[in-house]
């Protein structure tokens, strides 16, 4: 029986979590990581934590746009149009 999987220890397994979520592991690495996870509740908890960080980051709302900031940007657009229509004149 040929050795199909590398045996992973936890210290090495945790370094694969992000690439695993990215789908960036080779077939062989993915299989040995998944096999390790099946037997290791701590590394499963670790992966779940990395995954929940990614999920919560995606949910974070940016701050509110203030009326002043919005007015400033509308000014930027107005000035740009004025410049451009100025350029177009003969």
């Amino acid at each position: 029986m040929p050795l199909l999987y590398d045996d992973l220890v936890c210290r090495d397994a945790v370094e694969l979590a992000s690439d695993y979520l990215e789908g960036a592991l080779s077939w062989r690495r993915r299989r040995s990581y998944e096999r390790h996870l099946r037997g290791c509740p701590h590394c499963r908890a670790h992966l779940a934590q990395v995954r929940s960080i990614v999920t919560e980051l995606g949910r974070a709302e940016p701050g509110q746009l203030t009326d002043d900031a919005r007015a400033d940007l509308m000014d930027v657009s107005r000035r740009y149009r004025e410049e451009r229509s100025g350029d177009a004149e003969p």
């Binding site: 210290r11 090495d12 370094e15 509740p41 990614v54 974070a60 509308m74 107005r78």
Partner: protein, 198 residues
Amino acid sequence: MDDAELIARPRRGDEAAFGSLVTAHQPAMLRLAGALLTSRALAEEATQEAWVGMLRGLDRFEGRASLKTWLYAILVNRARTIAARERRTVPFDHTDDARAEDPARFAADGSWTQAPVPFTDEVGERLDHAPLVARLAPALDVLPPAQRIIVTLRDIEGLSSDDVCAMLEITPANQRVLLHRARAGLRRSIEASLKRDG
């Protein structure tokens, strides 16, 4: 309204359409510029320049990228120009092969000495993510700049790996290493903060 329509109207000089683009994208653009420049004033300058860049480039926008990706690419470009001017350029190359997780967490045989500290409170059947959410922003603040920028683009703004590599002119392998370090760094700070609070 789809991207093509949102773009066509400011192109015709429609102020209201420009305003709705600003409302939709400026808060996230300011957050992203903040990650790139770490100064509120410079971040605001970068977003202003990005909007002017967008208006200038409208006629060349071909709709091959999404509007958001295109806008963010302009913003990243402007922010990096400003960073260079201010001598705050962030290097994205990584040269060391250090582990992202703390080796002290593992015994000589490579197994955990102690389980990861749980991030969630179990409230009856439900998991409460509040302890994690409250700790994310301070954990982001202490990440090295290159890692913070990558994790902001990928996990907060939701851009693809390909888009981020193109914007920052880095290789996919480099991007993956930085993203891995960033996520691991966040996990470690959150865990450390939970331990401190007991």
